[in-house]
């Protein structure tokens, strides 16, 4: 087993990986950019190494700096988290060359599956249906234009090297194709350093369902059931759950087998996710493989009782999977909401700022994976995810009630967040009914506006925002006065000490 792991990431996922390492008795090294000098991930790790300026390209994406940080601190393995270099084959091989274990699949597998065109062909060859489209990422714009007309509109342009919605464009009409090609290429180039694009026909009102797999590289490949990830906004997942509503044991087994088949065909090792689109007739199509830990991995952990980060670490250390497929039975229902620093009333514009006040909901059955603390500045340089709320209960209805409660009790002041939007989604009857598809949010939440405040709320806002408040008055009764005006005896114990 490893003695020290460097976490090449930031925010909630770095915190999550640090927690798993702690539980396994492994020391941790955090890295932080100049924009993250007060971020919790760097304080929670056993040690932290500064890796450069705020720009990700010169810090969290700077491979030589990260390798150097691992060498200097004596780390023997590197966990990439998600995003940044998590699916970067060059980083995985740089780790290997430096004598570090990359916690994820080998570089060759990342490269093969990260190439969406190759992954599509691999899945098709293993007998799994793929979305109709065109998959030569070397094709130039002229060729793509030509193929786009063969595939037909509406279609999706996708970054061949991409994930997470970057470099992805929905093209509904031929007249929008040129602009979409240019902007998808530019975004893909900026995000992945590669502007190759593929084309896929748009499946009408699909659900996005993915299957978690674990492979130990020693001939055991398991699937951990599916996750429902249809609630997306601009191709960014917002709410995920496990299991998926309406997926029965038969479809679950079919999806699981298909995922295992793709993983075996790829020679997959470590934790990965096979994504599918499921059409209204419940036909499913292979979409892509994510060769890393997913943001939404906690919902699988909640229903299987397995720790996926710990599993990743054990597999990377050469440990065989001792589980058998029939031992993995989802129990209960888990749902996750992603909390983003964004303004749902201004087109979900990123909303950087300083967290002035933070209260996390500590409730039974609720897990918070957070990367923020009070006083922390949320920089503009990175993904706007702040934290994730995961609620579990014995069935979907109860899990949703727990989530509603957690969303109401979660207080983040100082930056605009999507919490009010999430509260509104959870209150939608259609959501409770589980009639999900990837256009759910655009259909049910178009032009969402925050609730109009009541006169009482407005009046309170007027009083609380009054500039006449002094700092001392704002500190109020904390200095020893209770509401009734009585003095709290504990506050009079000055100069005393409890022995």
């Amino acid at each position: 087993m490893f003695s020290k792991i460097l976490i090449a990431n930031r925010g909630e996922i770095a915190v999550r990986v640090i927690r798993a390492c702690r539980e396994m008795g492994i020391r941790t090294v955090a890295v932080y950019s100049e924009a993250d000098q007060a971020s919790p991930h760097m304080w929670l790790a056993d040690e932290a190494v500064p890796i450069g300026p705020p720009e990700a390209s010169r810090s969290y994406l700077d491979i030589p700096r990260l390798i150097d940080a691992a060498r200097r601190t004596g780390a023997d393995a590197v966990h990439p988290g998600y995003g940044f270099l998590a699916e970067n084959a060059a980083f995985a091989s740089a780790c290997r060359e430096a004598g570090l274990t990359f916690i994820g699949p080998p570089a060759e597998i990342i490269a093969a599956l990260g190439d969406k065109a190759r992954a599509r062909r691999m899945a098709a060859a293993s007998g799994v249906r793929v979305v109709p489209g065109f998959d030569d990422p070397m094709a130039d714009d002229a060729r793509l234009r030509q193929e786009a007309f063969k595939v037909g509109f509406p279609l999706l342009l996708k970054a061949a090297a991409g994930a997470g919605g970057r470099g992805l464009r929905l093209v509904e009409h031929p007249k929008d194709l040129d602009h979409a090609l240019a902007s998808a290429r530019r975004e893909a180039k900026a995000a992945f350093g590669d502007d190759g694009l593929i084309i896929e026909r748009l499946i009408d009102r699909p659900r996005h369902i993915e299957v978690q797999v674990l492979a130990d590289g020693q001939d055991t490949v398991l699937h951990l059931g599916e996750r429902e990830c249809s609630l997306q906004r601009r191709h960014q997942k917002v709410i995920e759950e496990a299991p998926a509503p309406g997926v029965d044991a038969w479809l679950r087994a079919e999806l699981g087998e298909a995922a295992v088949r793709v993983a075996r065909a790829a020679g997959y090792v470590n934790a990965g996710t096979v994504e599918f689109l499921v059409d209204p007739e419940r036909r499913f199509y292979f979409l892509e493989v994510n060769t890393r830990l997913q943001v939404e991995h906690p919902v699988t952990e909640m229903v299987t009782g397995l720790d996926l980060v710990a599993a990743q670490i054990r597999i990377a250390a050469g440990g065989p999977l001792v589980l058998r497929q029939q031992e993995i039975q989802p129990r209960g229902w888990a749902i996750e909401c992603r909390v983003y620093a964004e303004d749902p009333e201004a087109g979900f514009a990123p909303s950087p700022g300083t967290v002035l006040h933070l209260v996390e909901p500590h409730l039974p059955g609720v897990r918070i994976d957070s990367g923020i603390v009070t006083g922390q500045h949320i920089p503009i340089h990175y993904d706007p995810i702040l934290s994730k709320i995961i609620a579990w209960d014995s069935d979907r209805t109860l899990a949703l009630w727990r989530m509603r409660q957690a969303l109401r009790a979660y207080v983040v002041l100082g930056v605009r967040t999507n919490l009010p939007y999430l509260r509104a989604v959870l209150d939608l009857p259609a959501f409770a009914e589980g009639e999900l598809s990837t256009d759910f949010l655009s259909r049910h939440m178009p032009d969402w506006r925050s609730p109009v405040p009541t006169p009482e709320t407005c009046a309170l806002g007027a009083l609380l925002s009054d500039p006449a408040w002094s700092d001392a008055a704002r500190r109020g009764t904390a200095a020893g006065m209770t509401r009734s005006g009585a003095v709290d005896p504990w506050d009079r114990l000055r100069g005393w000490r409890l022995a």
Binding site: A346, H357, G414, P420, S450, C458, G461, A462, L464
Partner: protein, 167 residues
């Protein structure tokens, strides 16, 4: 003390109010409704609110210009201003639009130049923040009067990037 007339802007929803009294006993007129309430600071950004015979816990924080409040499971974000300047006067009359950056970020593309006619919805420029590109479009038909920023420029939320003048 004569009532204080203020406007709270909850996004695009502006609420004029008249506030009288003290924090211990305030009377606030909100449109046709009059609310009496008292507020007491509990420290650490928490406040006890008495209104309508019930007590609730509120949380409040402010960065100076934007105020954040949480009460009864909901979060409210608003700006406050005196009622006198409630009606913003356009810089050079109607038909004039400052197209401001909606967020801090970096300008990655500018599609227009001074003197160019634009129609409502035409893309003007692209701002990238938190890895996301946002296309900013013309708010109205008119002529681009001035382009103030160039690709590569860093902008703050609210910075004027393009000025559009009506037909």
């Amino acid at each position: 003390m004569s009532p204080q007339r203020i406007v709270l802007a909850f996004g695009s929803h502006a609420v004029p109010l008249e506030v009288a009294g003290s924090l211990e006993h305030a009377t606030v007129r909100v449109g046709e409704t009059t609310v009496t309430l008292s507020v007491e600071a509990m420290g650490d950004g928490t406040y006890a609110v008495m209104s309508n015979g019930r007590r609730q816990l509120a949380r409040f924080a402010s960065d100076g210009s934007t105020h954040y409040m949480h009460i009864d499971g909901e979060t409210y974000v608003f700006q406050r201003r005196a009622a006198e300047d409630a009606q913003p006067v356009p810089a050079t009359g109607a038909g004039y639009h400052d197209v401001r950056a909606p967020m801090p970020g970096v300008i990655t593309q500018v599609f227009v130049w001074g003197g160019q006619p634009v129609r409502t919805g035409d893309p003007l420029y692209v701002v990238e923040a938190m890895k996301l590109e946002t296309v900013i479009r013309a708010p109205a038909e008119g002529t681009v009067r001035r382009v103030r920023r160039a690709p590569g420029d860093r902008v703050d939320g609210g910075d004027i990037v393009v000025e559009v003048e009506g037909p």
